[in-house]
Symmetry: C2
Subunit: 400 residues, 2 copies
């Protein structure tokens, strides 16, 4: 908790939050602070070509096996002091504890701070690099432009080439565990101490364009209209009901909508609707996709409209490793802590790691679910619970 | 019919339509053509300060009473040859017929071509002026800017001052009758020859703003969201059903919608929806207003949203004079023509005139309801039927 509060001073905002955008001067200062903490803990400090920082506790007998834990230290603008930092510093605390207890494990333990999880320039930059999911294509069409990224990488002492070469051989990894605040209220509402992430959601998006016929909003009787707005709004209402009734806890969102021609007195000829949907596994995502697109087509037909579907973005769901989930569950039970399996609806570095090594996440409650906001808060006791569960998880013989 | 086809050559478009925007050179040419036709018919030609052109057939005994009929000669861009022109030239034909028959009536008969009905610069410019509804305020915030209007008025030989002074004393008027194409398919679908307009709809508009809470489109469970899009789309669906079930033949439209923040992955915090509704009488408009705004508030409450209503435009409904409606109905019957009472959902010069003198409109069928489009078409027989009904209507002793 002392480390968490100390780090929160770097990039502190007047509101009590933290601004430590990846690649910024504040990020560089935070990383230097972390390097010193890693070294002070007696761990071997390393940084890879993607700027990911590691603190390694070697096994007594030399091994090429590594069990990794950690998260990220960058934040969103005026974010909270828990998102990312809690996972990285809990991992440091746990590994330091194991070192101080002088325990011999059949694998190296590693604490990691992944670069730019939040995506100031590129979401999951560091964990994507480690997992071999970063490609040269990612360096085009950047949110912040290439100039900013090149300057930012120079600040960290890395380059595009070094980042692309920062992969870890999956054969050397035994697993990955990450602690994170829930960023929601499921645990808090249920009075549960520990969440065990069974999957990080897949995210898919599409533009649905309903096409009808522009008409005089007075002279054209309602019964004769082919109104694109009617189709789009029917879809929002019925897709919402469909997802709630058949795909819970999967979710959907309708975040944008454009109307043409767009006048009070003209029946809409075209409505373009932004659809996003999320669920825990790819088969569930496939089922949602079929159900939602079928519904859109049914509605288009009902209203005499055309339908165009343009799928624009995909992010594959990342199921956790059942063995690791079970170990976390057992560890919580051993500690007398209530736990609940749940899906993470936000992205995390674990989704990169889950593709190459057995992984899972430990969630701790967020007060009021506040997230990406300076008021983000998790009680000390919950932070400690999470770290204790991780300690027991790392010591499990499931990794042997 | 010959006159109609001749006039359609002025401003003819390659597609077979007509572009004769009010105040344009083509409009000036059309007006000159009309002046010559009026004079050739032996009527007294006059133009008032608003550019309205009149052809007067004086009663045998001098009188200060005037029964007016007509419409407008301006068009929308690439519009049809019937909208406006049919009403003006039918009136000319009918009055000329009465003159040729040497009939003595106890009032002067007048044919009128009203200026800028379509609103190139200002909708219903001429009829508003005659009815005393044009004010200095109308000359600010013009669609086409003041420069265009001043230049256009100069082309017609009028000024703002002369237009504002162009009122007709209601006491001198005995009534107003206008023929127009239906611009819809009600007559065509019912196989009816003559529509009798019982009212020109009132039009009211409002921006409805539903306010919720922006949230993470993944981490926020659907059950906990206050999604402005859900409220707005529920309103569209339920308002549509409400108007169709309880206010038919009144209509509503949702022509524009803006979302904030407007991203795939953010639950909408604010949705601003354009609502327009129309019905035949002010009491019906008041009922619709209450029902629609109550519904919006009910839905806002259901979804945990705030609601802001900003009423932005009103156009009062213009009921026809029952006596004139009856005379038109009787005239159609006398001629063996089927007729049907209906509401006009589009605006017409009659709505200005109905405020100052007993008025009604005669509709004739539009093939496929095409309107404001070069393909607009009404069969010759239907045009002739309309003119015959107007002839008998003008000769009724209801005006005495």
């Amino acid at each position: 908790m002392a480390n968490l509060n100390e780090l929160a001073q770097i990039g502190a905002t007047p509101e009590g939050g933290v601004t430590r955008l990846a690649f910024s001067e504040a990020d560089v200062a935070g990383r230097l602070w972390f390097e010193q903490k890693v070294k002070a803990a007696g761990l071997r400090y390393e940084m890879d070509g993607a700027g990911n920082q590691f603190g390694i506790l070697p096994a007594f007998s030399p091994t090429k096996k590594l069990l990794l834990c950690g998260s990220h230290l960058d934040t969103v603008p005026n974010g909270g002091k828990y998102d990312g930092a809690l996972g990285t510093l809990s991992a440091l605390e746990v590994v330091q504890t194991i070192k101080e207890a002088n325990l011999d494990l059949p694998y190296d333990l590693g604490v990691v701070n992944f670069t730019d999880e939040e995506g100031s320039v590129m979401s999951l930059f560091g964990s994507h690099a480690v997992a071999g999911q970063l490609t040269a294509d990612h360096f085009t069409n950047l949110r912040s432009g290439t100039v900013d990224l090149v300057a930012g990488m120079a600040r960290l002492g890395i380059t595009q080439e070094s980042a692309l070469a920062a992969t870890i051989d999956p054969d050397t990894l035994v697993g990955f565990v990450e602690i994170h605040i829930e960023q929601g209220v499921r645990l808090e509402n249920a009075g549960i101490s520990i969440g065990i992430v069974t999957s990080i959601v897949g995210i898919r998006s599409a533009w649905l364009t309903f096409g009808g016929e522009a008409a005089h909003a007075g002279a054209k009787p309602m019964a004769d209209r082919r109104d694109a707005m009617w189709g789009a709004t029917a879809f929002v209402q019925r897709a919402k009901a469909l997802v709630e009734s058949q795909f819970h806890p999967g979710v959907c969102n309708f975040g944008q909508l454009f109307v043409e021609p767009g006048a009070f007195n003209i029946v809409p000829a075209k409505v373009k609707l932004a659809l996003e949907y999320r669920h825990g596994t790819e088969p569930q995502m496939d089922d949602m996709r079929t159900a939602l697109f079928d519904l859109a087509q049914t509605i288009a037909t009902e209203y005499g409209l055309t339908l165009q579907v343009e799928e624009v973005m995909g992010c594959i769901s990342a199921p956790s490793d059942e063995k690791v989930v079970q170990v976390i569950e057992d560890s919580a039970e051993k500690l007398g802590l209530s736990s609940q399996r749940l899906i993470s609806f936000a992205g995390h570095d674990t989704q990169s790691m889950a593709a190459i090594t057995p992984s899972a996440m430990i969630f701790v409650p967020s007060v009021n679910g506040v997230s990406h906001h300076y008021a983000e808060y998790t009680k000390d006791a919950d932070c400690v619970n999470g770290a204790n569960v991780m300690l027991h998880t790392l010591l499990s013989d499931c990794w042997h």
